[in-house]
């Protein structure tokens, strides 16, 4: 298998080259076929790699070539497929393939069809590089590359200025995090003399004086940017400007979980820095709760899902922060299924509605688009954490670990889970129940999406429903196969952290509480939006204070605007008006003016009188003569 690992990322890259060069030549059918097929082959290879790792229990190392060697820094371009990256490979290529398939239907009428598939393939390539790299630098290339693709795809419809702005916003916010990550890598090299995972992690446990807190905080800053945590989360909701498959693939299933992957990968470093772990847990929890509060009142179907993604990512970081690496990674996996499903479902709804994203204009769609409705319902139940669907198991594992760490974390976590259940069912009820609220024309237009869009929905719905079965906790009679599979990766960390066993009665109580909370929130949403047929008010109408705060995203963008953009603007204004206009321009123009003014005086010497010129010439000659005579006399 080692021989073929390099093919996994190379295939999507080939797809990028073919589709990129042939975007105006190849027909849409060919482009869609190539783009999807290459990812499917990569998926097949990933399955092969997965089973080899599973059966042998040993990671696959594929050393491609020495990239560069400067001083003490030797960087190999090499891939590592271990338990962690093999699962990421399956998510990226598997979910990636389904989303490619979906895009064939969704983007069919778009002029940029070829460009879209080229970007999508390029994204898959970089994402695979990110998870496959066996050192931090290869991961960093992938990290930057997915950021680039995210930028390109958010701004895919760049002729709309606000979409282009959203792309720039995402890119700039990611840059802030990337800088932290890069400096973190520098510090790692400075401390351990290597950036290869194998060297760093083996040395970490035996280097007591290493600046673990600094390293991990810097890496965490990178994760905050990429995974949209507080305070750098505002780019993700805006990123919904991109086409819906992009939101599903990049901004829900894969790229935004890169931060979680990176921390899970470096788990030993983080375990050795308990202060950072505390910071991660608090930021994760705060993000989860904050984004859930915003999601409560959003009216754009994709914005609800975007804030829900931010919130679920917060859960993952909470899990990482309390040391539940397996739980956090389990949530990455299940989240990839149900959030990709929900986004694709939302795309199908938008497709049926002819581009409308406002839930106030929807309603009663259940009977019109049955497959979309049923699959989205599965996704909603999964994300709300109702057993036996997948979201329940992963969320429960994180919450149990949070409880073992601190009761406060648990309480906030459960309240957030209730909020999650409420806003997700609110979205479902507003979209699929009640009466249709759109125009007559839209009602006439309503239709189920083509098979290339519904098949991915169905596959993802099945995965969302049963995906949790790989992590059934022991208390429910399961074996937690995912936990057992991932154990070698987190072995060292678990030794340090120790096992915190909860009694089975406690675990049952915790589960009961979170499930009960989710059900109550679901029923409350039903009463509010189905029984009373409450529809969110139009933008022009007054809202209660709290609802207004939530609807306007707690004015975070405005606060950033005030705290960062305005002072920067003022500073730029100062530099422009004072330093540049007065200082530098003054100097340059002053030199010019000085030359002109002094020339005005000097040119008066020119009288135009030829006799005077001749006289001066003779005087000059005589002077030269005298000077020379003087010299010779010496």
């Amino acid at each position: 298998m080692e021989k073929y690992i390099w093919l996994i990322p190379l295939l999507p890259l080939a797809g990028f080259v073919i589709n990129g060069l042939g975007r105006n030549v190849l027909s849409k059918g060919v482009i869609g076929f190539i783009g999807s097929l290459l990812v499917l082959i990569a998926f097949g290879l990933s399955i092969g790699a997965f089973f080899q790792v599973k059966s042998s229990g040993l990671p696959i190392n594929a050393d491609l070539f020495t990239w560069f060697s400067v001083g003490g820094l030797h960087v190999n371009f090499s891939f590592l497929v271990d338990q962690l990256s093999s699962i990421m490979l399956l998510i990226i290529t598997g979910v990636g393939f389904l989303i490619h398939l979906y895009s064939i239907g969704y983007m069919h009428d778009d002029d940029g069809f070829g460009k879209f598939f080229a970007y999508l393939n390029l994204f898959v390539f970089f994402m695979l590089l990110l998870v496959l790299g066996s050192n931090y630098l290869v991961m960093f290339i992938g990290w930057e590359g997915v950021g680039l693709c995210s930028y390109l795809l958010i701004g895919f419809w760049y002729s709309n200025p606000s979409y282009a702005d959203a792309a720039k916003k995402a890119f700039i916010m990611n840059r802030i995090g990337d800088l932290g990550f890069l400096i973190g890598i520098f510090v790692i090299f400075n401390t351990f003399g290597s950036i290869a995972y194998a060297d760093v992690f083996s040395k970490a446990a035996h280097t007591p004086g290493a600046p673990f807190v600094l390293i991990t905080l810097l890496l965490f800053i990178g994760a905050v940017g990429k995974s949209a945590q507080l305070p750098l989360f505002t780019w993700l909701p805006d990123a919904m400007a991109g086409p819906t498959p992009v939101s599903a693939l990049i901004h829900a299933a894969t790229m935004v979980t890169a931060g979680v992957y990176m921390i899970a990968r470096s788990n030993i470093l983080f375990t050795l820095a308990p202060q950072t772990m505390e910071v991660i847990a608090i930021i994760g929890l705060a993000t989860a709760a904050f984004a859930a509060l915003i999601a409560l009142t959003q009216t754009d179907i994709k914005k609800v899902l975007a804030y829900s993604t931010v919130s679920q990512l917060g859960y993952m970081f909470l899990g990482l922060g309390v040391g539940a690496y397996t739980g956090a990674f389990f949530h990455v996996l299940t989240h990839a299924f149900f959030k990709a499903l929900l986004f694709l479902g939302a795309g199908s709804v938008i497709h049926a509605m002819g581009g409308e994203q406002d839930m106030r204009k929807m309603g009663g769609l259940a009977g019109k688009i049955k497959i979309t409705f049923v699959t989205m319902l599965v996704g909603t139940i999964a994300i709300a954490g109702i057993p036996p669907f997948s979201g329940f198991f992963s969320k429960d594992e994180i919450l149990a670990a949070a409880f073992a760490h601190s009761t406060t974390f648990y309480v906030v976590g459960v309240i957030t889970a209730m909020l999650t259940s409420f806003y997700m069912f609110r979205m479902m009820y507003l979209t699929f129940w009640g009466k249709f609220r759109g125009t007559h024309e839209q009602e006439h237009h309503l239709h189920e999406s083509p098979p290339s869009m519904t098949i991915p929905l169905i596959v993802l719905a099945i995965l969302s429903a049963i995906g949790g079965m790989i992590g059934v906790p022991a208390v429910m009679g399961g074996h937690h196969e995912l936990g057992a599979y991932l154990a070698p990766v987190f072995e060292a960390s678990h030794k340090i952290l120790g096992e915190h066993e909860l009694s089975s009665s406690t675990e049952w109580t915790l589960m009961g509480l979170s499930v009960g909370g989710a059900l109550i929130a679901m029923i409350y949403a039903y009463v509010k939006y189905v029984k009373s047929a409450d529809v969110p008010v139009e933008d022009s109408e007054e809202r209660p204070l709290l609802a207004n705060l939530s609807y306007n995203k707690f004015y975070v963008d405005e606060i950033y605007d005030f705290l960062i953009r305005k002072p920067l603007d003022a500073l730029s204004g100062f530099f422009y008006n004072v330093v540049d206009r007065l200082g530098i321009d003054g100097l340059v123009n002053g030199l010019g003016k000085g030359t002109i003014e002094s020339s005005k005086g000097l040119r008066l010497l020119q009288t135009g009188n030829v006799g005077f010129y001749i006289f001066m010439m003779v005087v000059g000659i005589v002077a030269i003569l005298l000077y020379n005579l003087n010299l010779f006399s010496k």
Binding site: R603, Q606, V610
Partner: protein, 105 residues
């Protein structure tokens, strides 16, 4: 003893200096462009005379070769200079250099 050497060198130097000085003074004090031109020629020929005399006294022919070059150059200079003067006259109806004071800012 050539004919040239029958006259003492000082006499040549004196004569040349006098001619040269006449040329310089002519250039400085006269206002007629043609006379100034002739004065310039006087200076040139004063130098030529001196060069020839020294060349003979030193027994080195290169001084005389130099003189030929100066003559050729002077001929060219006269051709251009006179042409300029003719043009000036056609434009201003005068060859008084004090009238030619428009060559300034």
């Amino acid at each position: 003893m050539s004919t040239i050497q029958s006259v003492p060198l000082n006499a040549y130097i004196l004569l040349s200096s006098v001619i040269f000085s006449i040329g310089v003074i002519g250039v400085l004090v006269r206002r007629n462009a043609i006379v100034i031109f002739m004065s310039v020629e006087l200076m040139l020929n004063a130098v030529n005379l001196l060069l020839t005399a020294f060349s003979v006294y030193l027994g080195d022919a290169s001084g005389q070769v130099f003189v030929f070059f100066i003559m050729a150059l002077a001929a060219a200079e006269v051709a251009i200079g006179l042409a300029i003067i003719v043009m000036i006259y056609r434009n201003t109806n005068s060859i008084d250099i004090n009238v030619l004071n428009r060559l300034k800012w």
